[in-house]
């Protein structure tokens, strides 16, 4: 498609997510693009990052030479533990999700439906090695589940769909989707499109997606 509007960069999307997370929140950032949200958190706020392999209070990657094999994130990258951090075992870690203790999680996705279903663990390919990790637990595991993704695939297919065609990760669990074109809120009355990219109109967005969106109240 030919763009007549200015898409947001991944960093700009991440900063939109970060600006909506209030001071004092407990947050899990999914593997991939969502980890960039950590780089956008405003100064002076205390956001406690959770990683499902057993750490609250996750900090940035260590300085070169200071890597510690026992201190990593869910993506198996080296991280640090901030003052006030806590370590715990896996059952406790997932109790924090399943039990509704986490305020937000931010996930990547292959597809999200207009009713908040998410598909992000398998493309459905028969030859791929199936692997789910914590995706299904995270999808239902926070008070608010946000998705951060490009709105379209590289081939131009819209990833916001009426009904997911890829294997589901969770049902009716996504609350808000941050994309390079707009932000979408999943509501009982339909999908609300807001914060459209510069130069993009509501009607043009609907046309690109083949969907009807509500205007923000």
């Amino acid at each position: 498609m030919s763009d007549t509007f200015q898409r947001l960069t991944r960093h700009e999307i991440a900063c939109r997510v970060a600006s909506d997370i209030p001071d004092g929140s407990y947050v899990n950032l999914g593997i991939g693009a969502p980890t960039e949200v950590a780089d956008c958190l405003p100064e002076g706020v205390t956001i406690i990052l959770h990683t499902e392999n057993g750490l609250l209070g996750m900090g940035p990657k260590p300085e070169p030479g200071k890597e510690d094999i026992d201190l990593m994130n869910a993506g198996k990258q080296y991280v640090t533990a901030l003052p006030g951090a806590a370590f715990f075992h896996h059952a406790d870690s997932f109790a924090m999700m399943r039990g509704g203790h986490l305020d937000y999680c931010v996930l990547g996705a292959y597809q999200v439906s207009t009713t908040g279903d998410i598909a992000n663990w398998s493309t459905g390919s028969k030859t791929a090695i199936p692997a789910v990790g914590g995706a299904m637990d995270l999808a239902i595991g926070a008070k608010s589940v946000f998705v951060m993704m490009d709105l379209f695939t590289k081939k131009g297919g819209c990833k916001l769909v009426e009904s997911c065609t890829m294997p589901l990760t969770g049902i009716a669990c996504v609350k808000r989707i941050y994309t390079d074109c707009a932000t979408f809120d999943i509501t009982p009355e339909g999908v609300v499109a807001s914060s459209l990219a510069p130069g993009l109109t509501h009607a043009a967005l609907e046309g690109l997606c083949g969907l009807t969106f509500r205007h923000p109240a």
Partner: protein
């Protein structure tokens, strides 16, 4: 009471073909590589392995798979960079995979250790991984019935242990260790340091010794494996 074993083979004594074995670790953190190496040397085969991952490269669980010792693996995330051993045997149909969402894996192991007969969890409801499973709507929310996962043995890694089997861990290397320790008939812990009984402050014991049958000291041999 002395649960300390003087060598890795001693620690693994009794493991036979067909055993079901939990192995702690998340990626490399908390993976008891030396116990796994010793298990490979022991030669037991037709094993069922329960672990979060299926090993990377040719180390750890990947080594057991490459040697053809594993017939079934229960895990959440077998897909890893260079996990060629798993990929080859799985795609050839020589290895049965039971894929379990990570939180369900942890909780099913916990349930086994805690004497819970089964539990309803929201994770996975409506997905392919809950197909054929009993479901129930409770207070308006949909749940899937999941059963405990038991094992004959658990191989875990901890930072320090004593002759009573009390353990403390190190950072995110704790991961599955404490729950696996409760769910196996025989939990074997490799620890970086054996300390005298009484040296671990009871207030900070993470795994009480009742859950641990054998402790073997494996001193870190490089900075890369410290902990």
């Amino acid at each position: 009471m002395n649960k300390i074993r003087s060598s890795l083979p001693d620690a693994l004594a009794g493991i036979t073909d067909g055993a079901t074995i939990m192995i702690g670790g998340f990626g490399d953190a908390g993976t008891p590589f030396e116990l796994i190496d010793a298990l490979a040397e022991l030669g037991a085969t037709n094993l069922t392995i329960i672990s979060n991952n299926a090993g990377t490269g040719e180390e750890g669980i990947a080594k057991l798979i490459k040697l053809g010792r594993v017939s079934r693996i229960v895990c959440s995330f077998p897909r890893q960079p260079n996990a060629t051993a798993f990929d080859a045997r799985y795609l050839a149909g020589e290895l049965t995979l039971d894929l379990v969402p990570q939180g369900n894996l942890a909780e099913r192991i916990r349930a086994a250790g805690a004497g819970i007969g089964a539990f309803f969890t929201p994770t996975g409801f409506g997905t392919a991984l809950a197909e054929g499973k009993e479901t129930r709507k409770i207070n308006g929310r949909d749940y899937v019935l999941e059963y405990p996962i038991f094992a004959d043995y658990a191989l875990i890694k901890a930072r320090r242990g004593d002759a009573h089997g009390n353990l403390v861990y190190h950072e995110t290397a704790r991961n599955f260790g404490p729950v696996m320790a409760t769910a196996a008939k025989c939990t074997i812990a490799q620890v970086a340091e054996v300390v005298p009984v009484g040296a671990i402050d009871p207030e900070i014991v993470v795994t009480p010794g009742i859950f641990v049958k054998r402790v073997v000291e494996v001193r870190p041999h490089s900075a890369a494996r410290e902990g």
